[in-house]
């Protein structure tokens, strides 16, 4: 059902695209039609696969690192009363400074290879993951906390830690999942921006390279490959999260709808 809908939307967009090219008469080096892009795509499959694999790896590594950092930050803020004052400014600063401004620095420090792109993707998803998880941890139903407090009365810090682990963390997992969905959608931005600033591989590099040589059809092919990878990644993560959190109330809505 959803596959059919996806196909209809894609076909519609392709049709509009072809019509614009046909009716306006733009030259192919400004806007190539779908058939030219398909040509470029089929004749560059090995290159697209190689560069796509590089970008995909950067996105995945960035997702892993950013999620790990975000989860640890949120847990330390929620678990230690003093930590909030230390972590929160870092968190806000990480978002206030545009990643684009940091990209040249990261390339300078970490080199033209993968690490600088992974760092970019990590930076860009650190904020949504941390904020979403922290929000979830702070929104535990107060009545659950009351119940847990009577169960752990007189146990001080050990009791609070047990409540964090057994009640607040599981209760925050759906919020963390929302953060992860956002992160999955924006992680490619980090990787590609990193590649634009300085790299010798990846879809961003390929796009820049093709653009410089007026191979706009190849550039579009790379762009579409990136979009396809991102969509694939998003739906994989989304499905995985649903499977891991079967008790999530959101599913009830899905069924009712």
């Amino acid at each position: 059902m959803s596959a059919l809908r996806l196909a209809v939307v894609a076909a519609g967009l392709l049709l509009v695209w072809a019509l614009i090219v046909r009716l306006s008469g733009v030259p192919p080096y400004i806007l190539p039609g779908p058939e030219l892009v398909l040509d470029a795509w089929t004749s560059h499959v090995p290159a697209l696969a190689r560069h796509g694999a590089v970008t995909f790896t950067e996105i995945l590594l960035g997702l892993l690192a950013g999620t790990a950092l975000g989860v640890v930050s949120a847990l330390s803020v929620a678990g230690f009363r003093g930590a909030r004052r230390w972590v929160l400014p870092v968190l806000v600063a990480s978002q206030a400074i545009p990643v684009f401004a940091l990209a040249p620095l990261l390339v300078l420090w970490l080199g033209y290879g993968m690490p600088s792109k992974v760092a970019m993707a990590t930076l860009i998803i650190y904020f949504p993951v941390t904020v979403a998880f922290l929000d979830g941890l702070n929104r535990t139903d107060p009545a659950w906390l009351d119940l847990a407090r009577t169960m752990t009365a007189g146990r001080g810090r050990a009791g609070r830690r047990a409540i964090l682990w057994h009640v607040r963390v599981p209760a925050a997992l759906p919020a963390l999942a929302s953060g992860l969905r956002v992160a999955t959608a924006v992680a490619p931005i980090g990787a590609v921006v990193g590649e634009w600033v300085g790299s010798s591989a990846g879809l961003g590099y390929l796009m820049l390279h093709a653009n410089g040589r007026m191979q706009i059809d190849l550039m579009f092919a790379a762009l579409l490959t990136l979009a396809a990878l991102s969509v694939l990644l998003y739906f994989t993560v989304d499905r995985l999260l649903r499977r891991l959190l079967p008790w999530q109330p959101e599913r009830a809505f899905d069924r009712a709808a």
Binding site: D141, A143, W144, D146, L147, A148, R149, T150, M151, T152, A153, G154, R155, A158, G159, A162, I163, H166, V167, P170, A171, L173, L245, P246, W247, P249, A252
Partner: protein
């Protein structure tokens, strides 16, 4: 769906467990403000050992606040009240709490929900006792299911099993059955009355029939700052049948007191 009272009657003493001897509790000098308005001031409450004390009164009079005060859940009480147990031990850690909502954790199986207290305290969870208590509330066959698959009445039965699993001598209940339909509520009241027998219980309720069915002593809380009236003690041991003739006098008296309290509130 047989929450029949008979089997529970047979097993109550063994399964619900022998709680340590229940203390009588006296709270005195209770003082609590809400939005700058004194909720109660120098409040004096006595809970008889091993008895069910019911607390009625208009909404917002401070019934739940009193219960939270006893449960140690109010951190910013203007002046912490003196809570004295007649066995000389502190009340902390001897209280089980049951809310109007079942508060089941949606990600944990029924059995794990019942064992929550042990997990939080880092104790090995007692599976046999959890299953026996689930059997006592008629839900042993659902032990591995998630709470979302249960009806409201079933969920509240699990909450009762979780409360009993704590095996505390003092049980504080905040309108535990108010969200249930009449028949389910009636059955659960009977079940709770038997399984909680011998513990010191404070039951906050809006329902005078529930108080007459379950309470050894019934108080009406009223006024600002709030006060308790002298206890009403209906004849016979609970669980009673609130529609029977010998309760009529107590019911009339209780309704009169409630109307007084509501009138005082309105004026």
């Amino acid at each position: 769906m047989t929450a029949s009272d008979a089997p529970a009657c047979v097993i109550d003493g063994d399964i619900a467990g022998k709680a340590p001897a229940p203390p009588g509790i006296r709270l005195s000098g209770g003082r609590l403000t809400f939005d700058g308005r004194p909720l109660f001031d120098d409040l004096d409450v006595t809970l008889a050992a091993g008895r069910v004390t019911c607390l009625l009164g208009p909404s917002g009079v401070g019934k739940s606040s009193l219960l939270r005060l006893l449960a140690g859940l109010v951190e910013d009480a203007a002046a912490p009240p003196a809570i004295l147990c007649d066995d000389g031990l502190p009340l902390t850690g001897r209280v089980a709490y049951m809310d109007q909502r079942d508060l089941l954790l949606p990600w944990a199986s029924i059995r794990r929900n019942v064992q929550l207290g042990a997990r939080l305290r880092g104790e090995p969870p007692d599976r046999a006792r959890a299953d026996a208590l689930l059997a006592a509330v008629g839900l042993d066959h659902r032990a591995d299911d998630l709470p979302a698959t249960l009806s409201g009445g079933m969920r509240q039965r699990v909450a009762l099993a979780r409360t009993l699993m704590e095996n505390r001598p003092v049980v504080l209940m905040d309108e535990p059955f108010s969200a249930l339909d009449a028949v389910t509520r009636y059955r659960l009241q009977g079940l709770a009355s038997r399984l909680l027998a011998g513990r010191t219980v404070l039951l906050v309720t809006h329902d005078p029939l529930e108080a007459l069915r379950l309470g050894h002593r019934i108080h009406v809380m009223q006024g600002a700052p709030a006060r308790l009236d002298t206890a009403l003690e209906p004849p016979g041991p609970p669980p009673r049948e609130p529609y029977e003739a010998e309760l009529t006098a107590a019911a009339k008296l209780l309704m009169a007191r409630l109307q007084d309290a509501a009138g005082a509130e309105a004026s």
